[in-house]
Subunit: 408 residues, 2 copies
């Protein structure tokens, strides 16, 4: 059960971006496991990918195709098999998949980006399955298929994740719609996470690149479920250029800030949705660190807390075990931290004042906050003006169950 997350609704089409899903039989029969997205001519696409050295074959191929500079015409996504740890055969399968789609669409293989998610290290006969399913996929392409696509890209997700935003620019209505999948192996700098954000705005070149970086820094790179980093992560930003006569190409264009803010909002919704649907999650915790000397040390403390199994299990138990919070803060590697400057709040309840239990704190007040599904944790390090916020979830029996059972 995702924490405070409803199924997507009222998703808005993006002019020039069509989607289709079909049952390709990649791992299980009768499951919609293939998704095709096509982009109108004139679209621009940028992406960021996992930094895992064992990056999956589709990641290698997608990066190669993106850097070739050929305009992207389509994305092909499969679930059921990550095509990772599959060596040369896996690379071949990813390349062949692109060739198959390219032939059907009449474009160069470099115009196709492949994505895979699912079990790692199993051989896969992808190209043949995609080839057999392509007629169905191309026949089904439609701008209104975001919702079924968001469902088709799920693996251990319990709920599809997608949303739309609109803003007015130059008197024109600009639309942004995004979808993402992922719930385990989630941590900053990408995870078992695929995210696709489309806009009909003409956002191009350096501005498009920078916008993806800016959005990531406030969304997918600020979440963690279990600290694991996957082999397959990717976040793709696609701008079809159907709206805005004059394109936004530079970050000093006055339209850049509102446009990128709206795109960041979609990315942040999707990133938080991934944490809310974290494997086994029953609690959602924004962790806000203030008073640091640098953003880096704020993030260091935040992730130390977010990765502590003792803290995560205490949140699962709705137990305001603030000693575990202090222990994590104290071992986050801020070597000259003055512990008597540290303040900690759960929601609006201050639990630690000047490095020790707040004299006014009561267990009843702490427990009232912990009983909630969403528990904001706020720490003031008392040594500077830098801040950082990340989002994480608890560690429950179900996390263990899901990950112990995943392959069986």
């Amino acid at each position: 059960m995702a924490v405070g997350l409803l199924p997507p609704h009222d998703l808005l089409p993006i002019a020039g971006l069509r989607l289709a899903v079909a049952e390709g039989g990649v791992r299980y029969a009768g499951r919609r496991d293939l998704t095709l997205m096509t982009l109108a001519e004139g679209s621009e696409v940028v992406g960021v990918f996992t930094r895992n050295r064992f990056s999956a074959a589709p990641v290698v191929v997608a990066q190669r195709h993106l850097s070739a500079g050929t305009p992207v015409r389509a994305l092909i996504i499969n679930t059921g098999n990550a095509n990772a740890g599959t060596g040369a055969a896996g690379l071949q399968a990813a390349e062949d998949s692109c060739r198959t789609v390219a032939a059907a669409l009449g474009c160069a293989p470099e115009s196709i980006l492949p994505f895979s998610t699912g079990v790692i290290g199993e051989p896969v006969d992808l190209a043949r399955k995609i080839s057999a399913t392509l007629p169905t996929l191309t026949a089904r392409l439609d701008e209104n298929h975001w919702e079924i696509a968001a469902a088709a890209i799920m693996t251990t997700d319990t709920i599809p994740k997608a949303c739309s935003r609109q803003i007015d620019l130059d008197g024109q209505r600009v639309t942004i719609t995004g979808m993402a999948k992922g719930s385990g192996m989630i941590r900053p700098d990408m995870a078992t996470m695929l995210a696709y954000i489309g806009t009909d705005a003409a956002l191009q070149g350096a501005a498009l690149q920078q916008c993806l970086r800016d959005a990531m820094a406030q969304s997918f790179n600020r979440i963690t479920v279990d600290g694991d980093t996957s082999t397959n992560d990717a976040c793709i930003l696609m701008a079809t250029g159907q709206v805005l006569a004059q394109a936004v190409t530079q970050v000093d264009d006055p339209r850049y800030v509102p446009l990128c803010a709206a795109i960041t909002e979609v990315a942040q919704f999707l990133a938080q949705a991934i944490v809310r649907d974290g494997e086994g999650a029953s609690k959602f915790m924004p962790i806000h660190i203030a008073g640091g000397r640098s953003q880096e040390e704020c993030l260091q403390v935040a992730y130390r807390m977010a990765h502590s199994p003792l803290i995560k299990t205490a949140f699962f138990a709705s137990d305001p075990n603030w000693g575990r919070l202090l222990a994590a803060i104290g071992s986050a590697g801020v070597d000259d931290l003055e512990v008597n400057q540290v303040q900690v709040w759960l929601g609006d309840v201050r639990i630690v004042r000047d490095g020790a239990r707040d004299p006014d704190y009561t267990e009843a007040a702490g427990q009232a906050v912990m009983a909630e599904e969403e528990i904001p944790v706020r720490v003031d390090l008392g040594r500077g003006t830098a801040t950082a916020t990340i989002w994480t979830c608890d560690l429950s029996y179900d996390y263990v169950r899901i990950n112990a059972d995943y392959r069986s």
Copy 2:
């Protein structure tokens, strides 16, 4: 249930080192929660302590007393309350505890080292409880009480941890006995772990200091259960000097190596025992990394694997999900790792050859290894000659249960 670990037996007394336990009512009535250890004149004591910035009051006081240079005469250990996050009142409680013991033994307060373990952040009326229990404790002091002391210092431990070794030096029999507690909040550089190792050898000065460092580097600093670092950890090495007419004072003394090796052996047994009794542990995994450019990068890869909840849950499920192993190796921060040089074995079964699944690998072979309680994991990074070994355990339902229930 600890993995492959039996209760201690045949513990050997250390001449000059007496122990006593009693029910002090620190947190619960009727529990042996106070342990006193006294040392004969001429003993030397060294210690290493947690690096957590929120180090507990007893850690601060013990370090202060050790650095004062006054010979240590006694150690007082309580369970039930960690006296951490307790501010000035906690420091006062630790100091008062030492004063109380010192008065009873007729020595300076600086001759007493205090240790606490248990819940963090609760106020504690330690000195009064110790004072009331001291007559019982002093009356019970006995060189043969290691076994009940090893039981008395436990918190979430399911089994006492202690062992003895003997070696012959200069034609004399030297004895080493050690005990430790700890099962959660365990990671390198100390954890919720208390360890006390005594020897009757005359091991002194620089040699004693170096021996503790050497032993730690091959034992307590090479284990992890959950990656959390506690506020209270300490490892104490005590040499009573009752054996060996001429003391070992320098590391170039030919007797240093065999003596320190035997002490390291005791430390390693205790460290591994802590992992075997890791909270909820059902599997014990030595992780051996070879072929690194430096020991540091070997440790980086080893801990990345040992801290991965996905790997830990896969081991719990006896599932040879080697993709998760590769994903952890690839995200360990060795940026120029050549993945096609990487080899991985589970026990004697090679699962990864040159960065991809070994063509000869079968699930049946992998599962046979995973069915064991002890599963050695071996990785060759193929880029150098450095090696490192650490020990860890799996992540089970019981880990969550224990830590979600701990305070309730």
